[in-house]
């Protein structure tokens, strides 16, 4: 769940609950005030009746007045207790045309029934005991309450809406630095020289987060750089002893007469040293390519390069009785010749090395891609594994770095290198 959604949910829910509670309290309070006001006016009416009776010693004539009805009924003395009641106000249809129409509930009768508030009281006129019932319609009060309630509800809705919208806008903007950072982290590449930029924000938490991420990435990059430097230095330092071994071997074979066994040992030494040399050079090369130390802007006619390479490998093709089919279109690249040569050399060497006698190699160059296919072991290779450093088949004499280097070169040149296996051909595709 997104932070914003979560926040909005909680926020809106609490707002609604609080608003509902206040709404109820508000409603009750207003009802109470209005009812007490009604009660006051009922008491005033009662007093008027008392005064009238006190002065005239007879019951007052009952007038129809606005929303007020007074009825007198005879009762046995002492049976009436004074009290306020909620009752029904009966409004006679024909009687009050002067009265503005209100939205009152209609019943089947011609009469309108409205809720009302009544006061039961008693009065003695002469020696007759009367029960007084004064009823006042609550319609106006209720209307007022409804209006007030409606306005309140409207305000609540408006408030919720504003809250929702502002939260959305504000939070989105507030969290922008966070999302920016996230984006930077997503594209973060330890081998890249690009640093995570300092996000401009005046929110302390984000600034802190940013600082921490920057220092972390710097540390990671430094560690990585150290590691690379170490690899480079180690490979470099190895060069001199290898050179010494090599030269000593060259010197050793100048001395005369070796037995069969000795010369076999020397041969093994030579191949081991030459393997070591190649491995070391591959490592150095890989580090250099990763560090993007080998860049160039040469115009390369790829077709020509491939043709030259094929001429170079000619004897090997002949020796292994490989059938090489070329389908070369024109393609020009603007990049480092050195890298392209290494790439081509690696891919073609692999196609030869992992082929069998009498096998086939197909090379196809188009404007979009270079495809090198070769026959070989009759099973597909694991694409994820073959590009890993030092991954190689047990019988391979290679360094195990060739494809790693090839892929790294492709990455540097913004190409993609993919492996697939179809119809007994191992296929490497460079997509430009």
């Amino acid at each position: 769940m997104k932070l914003l959604t979560r926040y909005n949910r909680v926020n809106l829910l609490t707002t609604i609950i609080v608003m509902l509670i206040t709404g109820i309290i508000y409603y009750q309070a207003i009802s109470l005030i209005l009812v007490s006001q009604l009660d006051k006016s009922l008491v005033v009416e009662e007093n008027e009746v008392f005064e009238y009776v006190g002065l005239n010693h007879q019951l007052p004539q009952v007038f129809k007045s606005n929303d007020q009805q007074i009825t007198f009924t005879e009762a046995r003395p002492g049976t009436v207790t004074r009290q306020f009641i909620n009752t029904i106000y009966r409004n006679r249809e024909g009687d009050d045309e002067d009265r503005p129409r209100r939205h009152v509930r209609r019943h089947r009768h011609e009469d309108e029934f409205e809720s009302g508030r009544g006061l039961i009281s008693s009065v003695m006129v002469g020696n007759k005991y009367y029960k007084i019932l004064i009823v006042e319609s609550k319609v106006e009060t209720e209307d007022l309450i409804k209006i007030i309630f409606g306005i309140t509800a409207g305000v609540i809705l408006l408030l919720l809406l504003t809250l929702f919208v502002t939260n959305r806008l504000l939070l989105n903007r507030l969290w922008q630095p966070f999302y920016n950072l996230l984006k930077e982290l997503r594209i973060f590449n330890v081998a890249d020289s690009k640093d995570i930029p300092l996000e401009k924000t005046n929110i302390e938490e984000f600034e802190e987060l940013n600082q921490v991420i920057i220092s972390m990435s710097t540390r990671v990059k430094n560690d990585y750089k150290d590691l690379k430097t170490f690899t480079e230095n180690a490979s470099h330092e190895l060069l001199t002893p290898i050179a010494v071994i090599n030269s000593k071997l060259d010197t050793l074979i100048q001395t005369d007469s070796f037995s069969q066994q000795q010369s076999k040992l020397l041969n093994d030494l030579y191949s081991a040293v030459s393997k070591l040399t190649r491995l070391n050079q591959s490592l150095l090369l890989l580090v250099k390519i990763e560090n993007r130390l080998l860049e160039g802007n040469d115009h390369i006619n790829l077709k020509l390069h491939i043709q030259e390479l094929i001429i170079q490998f000619e004897e090997i093709f002949l020796d292994k009785e490989l059938i090489v089919t070329c389908e070369l279109g024109e393609k020009e690249l603007i990049t480092s010749t050195y890298l392209v040569d290494i790439l081509l050399n690696n891919l073609l060497s692999n196609a030869i090395r992992h082929n069998y006698k009498g096998g086939r190699i197909n090379i196809k160059l188009t404007d979009e891609s270079l495809v090198i296919q070769n026959t070989g072991e009759n099973a597909p290779l694991q694409e994820e594994e073959i590009f890993i450093r030092f991954h190689k088949s047990t019988e391979s004499e290679g360094s195990g770095l060739g494809l790693t280097i090839s892929r790294q070169i492709c990455e540097n040149l913004k190409f993609t290198l993919n492996y697939s296996y179809d119809a007994s051909y191992h296929t490497f595709t460079v997509t430009f």
Binding site: V244, Q260, T277, Q281, G296, I316
Partner: protein, 225 residues
Amino acid sequence: MKILIIEDEKGLRESIEEYFMEAGNICETASNYQEAMSKVSLYTYDCILLDITLPGGSGIEILKHLKQNNNTDGVLIISAKNSLDDRLEGLDLGADDYLVKPFHLSELRARVTAIIRRKTFNGSNLLVFNEIGIDLLAKSVKVSDTPIKLTRKEYALLLYFIANKGKVVSKNAIAEHLWGDGIDMANNFDFIYSHIKNLRKKLMEAGSNDYIQAAYGMGYKFTDQ
């Protein structure tokens, strides 16, 4: 020929010295910057083998010094640095060649021979070994006036052998010389064998002596003794 070996690694320096030491050659060595500077200032050499990273200074400085004084000594840089920039810097400054460590002594010898040949036989492109004559410009080979047709690899092989005459050249060194070190040729020495067989056959059919000897299964020796 007179050669100066500027190299701080004792083992390598001694091997090179030993490999070049023979009748008619003078080898001198320098193991640090100061020693090298004083030697190149005092004497002239046919070829200077120059290591870039030296105790006390950079080989590049020595190269600059040589070129400023219009010194005509051939310079071959031997360096562990294999970046294109280093290579280009060296060659731009006037070095004749650039060889990356580790290398085979026979390769070094072939390169040095080529440099000296270019320096000394100014204009003349003829290389003669007994009855074998090689026109370096036309890349044609004659055995006592009988022209023979060699493939590119056989021609390169012959030059390599002549530069290393009298020395046992390992199969690895030959493979690297012919195909570059980009290819892993360890299992493919058969090519070398067939190239050598062809070269020897062509030379002998044209009336040359058999100069190529196999050396205990490790390599070959081109010799007239």
